[in-house]
Symmetry: C2
Subunit: 348 residues, 2 copies
DNA sequence: ACTAGAGGTGTAAACGCTTACACAGCGATA
DNA sequence: TATCGCTGTGTAAGCGTTTACACCTCTAGT
């Protein structure tokens, strides 16, 4: 059923129907309610494409995901999507997904979206990151973007960025470990370079702890990498009493290796990690880890994007999302601490 | 840039441009190539909404997910989406996501999609299932659906169904356990009623194994539920030498409980489970489990849907996707078997 | 030489909505 | 009573495509 047919059926003009639908323009309250009610009754819904064509906007935004697909950590996408969807639905927007494909052509796909007016704007998220040149080229178009990025680029017109600020979570890690009495902490990283090491070391030294150079080791990405690195780290002479593992995925392997070495967690070694993947509460023991609120990341990105779309001008806010520690059973005071200093006082 | 502007710029009519784009209608090869080339150069992309309006189809299909959001097992959505996207992109279709919201209004949202011609068809997936009445009401519309469903409903016009056929995977479980020498097997279910129990029991008894009534226990959904159930199951007098756990999520808890009871896996008790969630290879020990190919499930649903869309008639195929066992370290011959019968012969 | 048919192109009417503008009715003001 | 302004409604011109139809130019068949 078209608007014309419907209008004739209820005895008004198409303009009146349209005004009733959008609630703007001059229309009497009475007519408006009548039209809306009869819409329900007759089941008339305006054609979306005709609307988009006339409005020159589709109230649809696109989601583009670039990058590596990882078995275990991909689930952050789910949380991200949930956040994105949530905000979009509150504003009556739809979400369009780009078809999968090789990444070399992703950029032209995005451009195509923009030019065909398929979307009013897009959220771009990359793993591990969205290349800066990409973003710059994106800025040239008449469309707005909200990107979720690891390393924020210099400001770009029409491109709003949201990134993570890891410092808060890391500070909490330092606070926790030091307050438990750990002073010699191991660092099991993923890939170099990794600013988190410096962050953590600073926070630790400010509280009397430290990360010795020989206790820093970069592992890789998989649980097996983590296991290997843990064996290496803990087989040395002066073994740290606590280990910070850069990702939960690594930590899963590391904890297995630690157990296999005959050490107990957290009795002999405490483990703290990062990301809080859905599985983290179910490791053995449950993992103390820094939660990354991907849902919030998605929400913030969409909010920035929508703000731009509303005003039709770059609101080039660069905002960040904080992290925070989730404490579970994988940490405890160090063994020597309990004995030599009788210090259970640090127990929460 | 509109098609008119572009056509004028390159000195042809809009009709010619359109014919070049779609490669149908009478147009000389030479002209066509010229137009396409100049499209690249000038960066003209036809307006999607105008196209959809004129074509009366959008080459977009919707994805509707109904149901419970579970922490750990939701990732099946990711695999599903991957499969869906894959097939869609091969056919040049886009994917539209319904905004999140309460499930009571989901149906009217779907109807709205259909009536507003936002999508040509939709994939519907429900957890745990899509209500049959729903499907029946869906069938009344002029749009096609591909639904992923646990219990296939009676045939409905315009609604193609794909569901899982669990029998193959379950048979393989029985084969594996019996060939290893297990004869008394425990069943740790999730929620009643559960047809898998009957399936497994049949396959087992056909091979000399069995599930005693006192070895059947329904746990729930979470790892903690699994742990509780495992303790109950294995603390009895005659404890089974192997346990089939209905879901990996339950198994994670069950395995922890088993370890805590001082039993070794698989030395004292073998564990086989179902779903093969991404984490399954990383449990301790890695879980032997039945893989459910969600990606394929998504692909099949889309293929059915697209077939209907092409021919514009119900191809009411109801297809199924099979499962298959993935063997990992959580199974071994039973202890008594190794001793009393010296039977390591069953080791693969 | 004339026509039939086919291939190539252009013109203009849809597609189903929005909205600027015109216009009718009507109470208030002069 | 004529004028103004305001409210509510209708008319019609877009929005940017597709495609049926008309037209023109060939080549081939008679």
């Amino acid at each position: 059923m078209t608007i014309e047919e419907f209008a004739r059926k209820i005895g008004v003009s198409t303009a009146t129907v349209s005004r009733a639908i959008h609630g703007k323009g001059r229309i009497s309250l009475q007519t408006r309610q009548m039209v809306l009610q009869r819409m329900e009754e007759l089941g008339f819904t305006p054609n979306l494409h005709a609307q988009s064509l006339a409005h020159r906007r589709s109230r649809t935004i696109g989601l583009e995901y670039l990058g590596r697909t990882e078995v275990l950590s991909d689930m952050f996408l789910l949380a991200l999507a949930r956040g994105i969807q949530q905000v979009l639905s509150e504003h009556g927007y739809n979400l369009l997904l780009n078809p999968v494909g090789v990444s070399t052509e992703r950029e032209s796909l995005l451009r195509r979206w923009a030019r065909s007016r398929a979307v009013d704007g897009a959220i771009v998220v990359g793993n591990p990151d969205v290349p800066v040149e990409w973003l710059q080229r994106l800025g040239g178009q008449r469309i707005f973007y909200g990107v979720i990025v690891r390393h924020p680029p210099p400001p770009i017109a029409n491109v709003g960025c949201v990134s993570l600020d890891l410092s808060q979570g890391i500070r909490q890690v330092a606070e926790l470990l030091c307050s438990l009495g750990h002073s010699r902490i191991g660092y099991l990283g993923s890939i170099e370079p990794d600013p988190v090491l410096a962050l953590l070391r600073d926070e630790l030294t400010a509280r009397g702890g430290d990360i010795l150079a020989e206790h820093v080791i970069y592992a890789g990405r998989t649980p097996d990498d983590g296991a290997r690195a843990a064996r290496q780290l803990l087989s040395g002479e002066s073994r740290p009493t606590a280990v910070f593992v850069r990702t939960d995925v690594l930590a899963i392997g590391a904890m297995r290796a630690i157990r296999e070495m005959g050490l107990q967690i957290p009795r002999h070694v405490s483990v703290v990690s990062h990301d809080d993947i859905p599985f983290a509460p179910f490791t053995d023991p449950p993992l103390t880890t820094v939660r990354v609120d991907y849902e919030q990341l998605g929400k913030s990105a969409v909010e920035m994007l929508l703000a731009m779309l509303e005003r039709q001008e770059p609101v080039n806010l660069h905002c960040t999302v904080h992290t925070s520690l989730v404490q579970r059973a994988s940490v405890a005071p160090p063994l020597h601490h309990q004995i030599s200093q009788g210090g259970l006082s640090h127990h929460a």
